[in-house]
Amino acid sequence: MPKEEKYTEKEKNLIKACQENDRKAQFEFYQLYSVKILGICYRFAGDYDTANDLLQEAFIRIFKYLHRYRFEGSLEGWLKKIAVRTSIDFLKKHHSMAFVDTETIKEPEVLPVLDEQYDTELIMREIALLPTGFRTILNLYAIEGYSYTEIADMLNIKEVSVRSQYMRAKHKLATSLKEKHHIHYAPKVL
């Protein structure tokens, strides 16, 4: 049984008011979570215009299905899943995604260290500049924590394609960060 997340009385009332279609409560809820949702949408969409469109779509879905939320598990996790699913649905509808491997790519020998000194906005922008397929798989695996199997099911492609495309994506991102922004390499963490 999922662990029940602890909510304050104020949070519970806010969610319940949103479930009852109270516009003020919905606006307050939107203000609390819009930045995080937009961040997710931007990472998948690659540009702010599309990200804002996806943000709107995600929140419409959130408020539509909020009545199904039973205060079990993390609310933020639930919201993130909806944002990810909205983004993936958009990409699947407007991008035909298929990956054909002409060769295998090995894990890059060295990867950049992306510690706190580096600008978050810069790194997110480089992710946004990745080709769509690379960006999608990188976001799903590296940031959202989905497994190769789950990603393969989501995108309707083979698991081996997911693995190789992830390696390519990681390599391309690392190369971009090194060449454009001189983010240095460090030995791979074992």
């Binding site: 939107y30 690659g46 709107q56 407007h94 002409t102 992710i127 769509t132 924590g145 492609i157």
Partner: protein, 438 residues
């Protein structure tokens, strides 16, 4: 201390990332949500009224001539065309992916229009990889197949749907790098709606236009010269030695016509141009030596040399008719669009270069007076004015837009002339037409 993994560091940055949310997003979300219960009835009525209005507007618009589609239709390509460009091979020697020709069953029309309202590109369209360019371009066949006119259109966009994963590659824009030649692989580009929008947002439209305005001028005049009196003022006999200063003025309609040039990106455009502007007002400026007044309070002895005008009942006035060349720099924004109608608002600055004052002299009868032009010379050859306004525009066709606006203009600097200093403000009605160049 062990270093964080690449994935963990990416997660941390993603967690910290705080982009700015566009304020208008909430309006769009709220409009899409079900109405709150207590407002449902009123909303239903509003929607009904809006629906009737939209139907009437659509009916009116549909009654008018349709939008001219003047872009050439794209014709089919030969799917067995053997002139496929040679694609580079990668470092391992395996051949790169082939150019795939779309077929009618696997492509569909674009429903979105391109920024300049070009018609949708009909399948099949040949997609070519140009080795010399880092980008993948689309070859659009012009006129009939076989006439040799293959023009490359960078913004020729196409979307593909319902193509199986086995038959199409996802297209990426790959820039080969020295360090990773294995990435220099040819791929097809699939353009999504997002890409179309991205291209649209970068596209800048250019317009030229013609505009005419009716202006009504209101002035605030300060008299420069000392010793000016008005017979409409206090009785001069009370202060026979006092020299008073006064003036009256009356506003008259003027006009402005000219041509303009606009650069538009999405819903905002910058406008400049060249206009000819005319501002008119009457002025009565008196210069009277009170000692010369008779006991009957008649103006028998004027100091004519200094007198600019006179007034006796409905007697003559000296009219001022200033003519300027006006160069505007304005920013306008389109909003609240419905079908082809748009609401606009904006404003900006105008540079006004004085050309001349074609004042008119009147000579009243019954008085032995001399009248001269007021504002004999305008000392301010240049002044700035500011404009603000709002109005509506209508997309009459693919390239033409008509608009009508209410304008308010105010001079930012006083206009000095030999006798008076003037600050003016105009309210006006402006009508114009603009033509899309590109």
């Amino acid at each position: 201390m062990p270093l964080k993994s690449f994935e963990d560091s990416l997660k941390d940055h993603a967690e910290k990332f705080s982009p700015s949310v566009t304020p208008s997003n909430w309006d769009a979300i709220a409009n899409a949500l079900p109405a709150e219960k207590h407002k449902k009835r009123a909303v239903w009525l509003w929607f009904s009224a809006a629906g009737i209005f939209v139907l009437i507007a659509v009916g009116i618009v549909s009654y008018q001539s349709p939008v001219k589609a003047n872009a050439p239709a794209v014709t089919a390509t030969n799917n067995n065309n053997s002139s496929t460009p040679n694609l580079p091979t990668n470092s391992s020697g395996s051949s790169a992916e082939q150019v795939i020709n779309s077929t009618p069953s696997t492509t569909s029309l674009i429903q979105d229009k391109t920024p300049d309202n070009r018609p949708a590109i009909k399948p099949p369209v040949k997609i070519a990889y140009i080795p010399s360019s880092p980008q993948v371009k689309f070859t659009e066949m012009i006129d009939s197949p076989g006439n040799g006119s293959n023009a490359l259109h960078e913004d020729a966009l196409m979307s593909k749907e319902s193509i199986t994963n086995d038959t199409i590659l996802m297209a990426e824009t790959i820039v080969s790098t020295v360090d990773s030649p294995q990435l220099d692989t040819a791929r097809m580009m699939t353009i999504s709606k997002a890409e179309i929008k991205k291209n649209q947002s970068r596209h800048i439209k250019k317009h030229i236009g013609f505009e005419a305005s009716y202006l009504y001028t209101d002035t605030r005049i300060k008299v420069n010269q000392a010793g000016v009196a008005s017979f409409a003022g206090p009785s001069p006999l009370n202060n026979p030695n006092e020299q008073l200063r006064n003036q009256t003025d009356r506003s008259l309609p003027g006009f402005q016509i000219g041509i303009n040039y606009c650069l538009q990106r999405k819903f905002t455009y910058i406008k400049t141009g060249l206009y000819y502007k005319n501002i008119r007002y009457d002025i009565q400026v008196y210069n009277v030596n009170l000692n010369s007044l008779t006991s009957n309070n008649r103006f028998n002895d004027f100091d004519f040399n200094k007198s600019d005008s006179f007034a006796a009942g409905n007697g003559g006035l000296v009219k001022n008719s200033f003519h300027y060349l006006n160069v505007p720099l304005e920013i306008w924004r389109e909003t609240f669009s419905m079908n082809r109608w748009h609401f606009n608002y904006g404003g900006g600055l105008n540079a006004n270069v004085f050309i001349g004052n074609k004042g008119v002299n009147h000579q009243a009868s019954g008085f032995y007076v001399k009248s001269e032009k007021a504002d004999r010379s305008v000392i301010s050859p240049f002044h700035l004015s500011a404009t603000a306004g709002m109005g509506v525009s209508y997309d009459a066709g693919q390239y033409y837009t008509l608009y009508i606006r209410a304008l308010y203009t105010r001079s930012l600097a006083p206009i000095e002339s030999s006798h008076v200093t003037t600050n003016y403000q105009n309210i006006g009605l402006c009508a114009g037409i603009k033509y899309l160049i590109k």
